[in-house]
């Protein structure tokens, strides 16, 4: 596919792209699947599915320990995936990439390990629109070592309130900022460069939760000047069970290990162990070998289409959704952020989001309904739940029209 030449996906490109996702031709309850839940987890292209199966069929063994041919091949493939991720994020060195199970584990790693370097009296600053994955680990850290947890508010439109953010940094007590790069509920893309610059000016380090952002845009951690960046493979067309923590080398070097076990030590006696250099220090035990390789393939796949094309396609879909959904009687779109990724949350008068989701499902349409692992945000918005449609490279405008039309019928049915 040469979509990146033109920066948009033509109809032909899109059909070709969709044909690479076998699941998209499934039917659900007798209707063609309309999959609008990619922000929860994206579907996988053939290359990822086949590549992982091929590895297990032909070149698989445990890594870093075998002296035999199979182990060497597996180790090479696993480490090549690390290099691939490092290039993908624009990291300064491949050693700055730590594989984890998912974004949640990556954030917990930082909270546990970097968190143990913080002192009582210091604070961690998050925002009102964090996923529970970027909230609960900091509460646990607070309760463990007695730091303060600060929460930067959002505006009614769903943007981060930058004045308030600046004010919360002002006393210089914030040791670490941990903020989403894109909200999974509002779709808000946060002004990452600004947030980083402001945090650094106040003497704080900053972690960006890129779980949603990396799927939709090119991210370069060095350009962002961030300190930590996390994402999760399964939202990026890769498999489950693999996530990524990127951090500056000097931070990783200074941080104590997260978990102990095999592979993370350079020598062990009963008295003490000497930690292995990074990233091995943070990868105790047998990692998700095949999944890491699958993630590397997924990244290749994404880059073969290109973020210019994916970004333009998703922006067009989002614009279309923001035009047709509000025309459905009783429907309100949640939030109006300045910059929105391919995520649209909505509510409908007189119909509960769970009833919406169940009825859409009967029509083959998959959306997410609930609090989206962001209960405090829901409370801030004065809602208990929303329905959410989210878009991916394979989503079509027609699917959004089917969604809008079906919502119209659901509303008629209830009123």
């Amino acid at each position: 596919m040469s979509a990146s030449d033109t920066d948009v996906l033509s109809q032909a490109d899109l059909s070709h792209l969709r044909a690479q996702f076998p699941i998209l031709s499934q039917t659900v309850h007798g209707k063609p699947l309309v999959f609008l839940d990619s922000a929860a987890s994206a579907q996988k292209p053939d290359v990822v599915i086949d590549g992982m199966a091929e590895m297990m069929r032909t070149q698989y063994a445990n890594i870093h320990r075998g002296l035999h041919w199979m182990s060497e091949r597996s180790t090479e493939a696993y480490e090549a995936a690390r290099t691939r991720v490092a290039e993908f994020l624009g990291a300064a060195a491949r050693e700055e990439i730590v594989f984890t199970r998912n974004s949640t584990e990556a954030i917990n790693l930082v909270a546990y390990s970097y968190g143990s370097l913080l002192r009582p009296g210091q604070a961690v600053l998050i925002s009102e629109m964090e996923h529970h994955a970027n909230l609960v680990p900091w509460q646990m850290l607070r309760d463990r070592i007695g730091i303060e947890l600060r929460v930067a508010p959002i505006t009614d439109d769903g943007d981060l309130d930058l004045d308030a953010y600046g004010a919360l940094l002002a006393d210089g007590k914030v040791g670490l900022v941990a903020i989403t790069h894109m909200s999974n509920v509002l779709g808000t893309v946060t002004p990452a460069e600004r947030l980083v610059a402001m945090a650094h000016e106040a003497g704080a380090r900053i972690l960006l939760d890129g779980s949603q952002a990396v799927v939709h845009r090119r991210v370069n951690v060095q350009d962002l000047k961030a300190d930590f960046y996390t994402f999760t493979g399964h939202k990026l067309y890769g498999p489950t069970g693999i996530g990524v923590l990127w951090a500056r080398r000097e931070l990783l070097d200074a941080m104590p290990p997260f978990m102990g076990g095999g592979d993370m030590i350079s020598s062990v006696t009963f008295e003490k162990s000497v930690w292995a250099p990074v990233p091995a220090k943070f990868e105790a035990g047998t990692p998700a070998i095949v999944e890491a390789v699958g993630l590397g393939i997924a990244i290749d796949w994404v880059e073969s289409i290109g973020f210019d094309a994916i970004g333009a396609h998703e922006a067009a879909l989002t614009k279309h959704a923001l035009r047709v959904l509000p025309e459905v009687p009783g429907l309100s779109v949640v939030g109006k952020p300045r910059e929105r990724g391919g995520v649209v949350s909505f509510t409908m008068d007189d119909v509960h989001p769970h009833d919406i989701a169940t009825l859409l499902d009967r029509n083959g349409i998959a959306v997410r309904a609930g609090h989206h692992c962001a209960e405090p945000l829901m409370r801030r918005l004065g809602l208990t739940a929303t329905a959410r449609a989210s878009f991916a490279a394979y989503t079509t405008e027609h699917e959004i029209d089917v969604l809008a039309e079906t919502l119209r019928r659901i509303r008629q049915f209830f009123v």
Partner: protein, 145 residues
């Protein structure tokens, strides 16, 4: 949406205009049930005497299934003894949770017809708790009065 038998007329109409919403006068007990997964919340107030449940009203915030299940529960348990009401709740939950498909549920002649409207939930297992939540709350209310 004829294609979804779960949203039976009785469920939709009861969710739109419940018959037993509100709070009873001089309640003998109150209870609340919350489903943390979706934020549904059922508040019950019950007045029970020697002969059993005299009145039951609810304030429910939730989906159509949850509101209708609560309202229909209020209807079918009023006039029943505590034991009888709790036992009905157990049979209702068993009916929904048993693995047998909706069409092959062992015939329970004593199951009120209105509660059978929830049988299609057997194929929407992620929504089962929407219908059983009020019964859990009722158990709380009756065991703590």
């Amino acid at each position: 949406m004829d294609e979804c038998s779960l949203y039976d007329t009785v469920i939709v109409t009861r969710s739109r205009s419940p018959h037993h919403a509100g709070v009873v006068n001089e309640p003998t007990s109150r209870a609340q049930g919350v489903n943390p997964l979706c934020g549904d919340r059922v508040r019950l107030s019950v007045r029970a005497g020697h002969d059993g449940i005299e009145d039951l009203r609810h304030e429910t915030r939730g989906c159509a299934i949850c509101i209708a299940a609560t309202d229909l529960m209020a209807e079918v348990v009023t006039g029943r003894t505590r034991t009888d009401a709790l036992e009905l709740g157990q049979r209702f939950t068993d009916m929904l949770e048993s693995q047998s498909p909706p069409g092959e549920v062992a015939d329970d002649a004593d199951m009120p017809e209105v509660l059978r409207a929830f049988l299609p939930l057997k194929t929407h297992r992620s929504r089962l708790r929407c219908a059983t939540l009020p019964w859990t709350a009722l158990g709380e209310a009756l065991n703590h009065d």
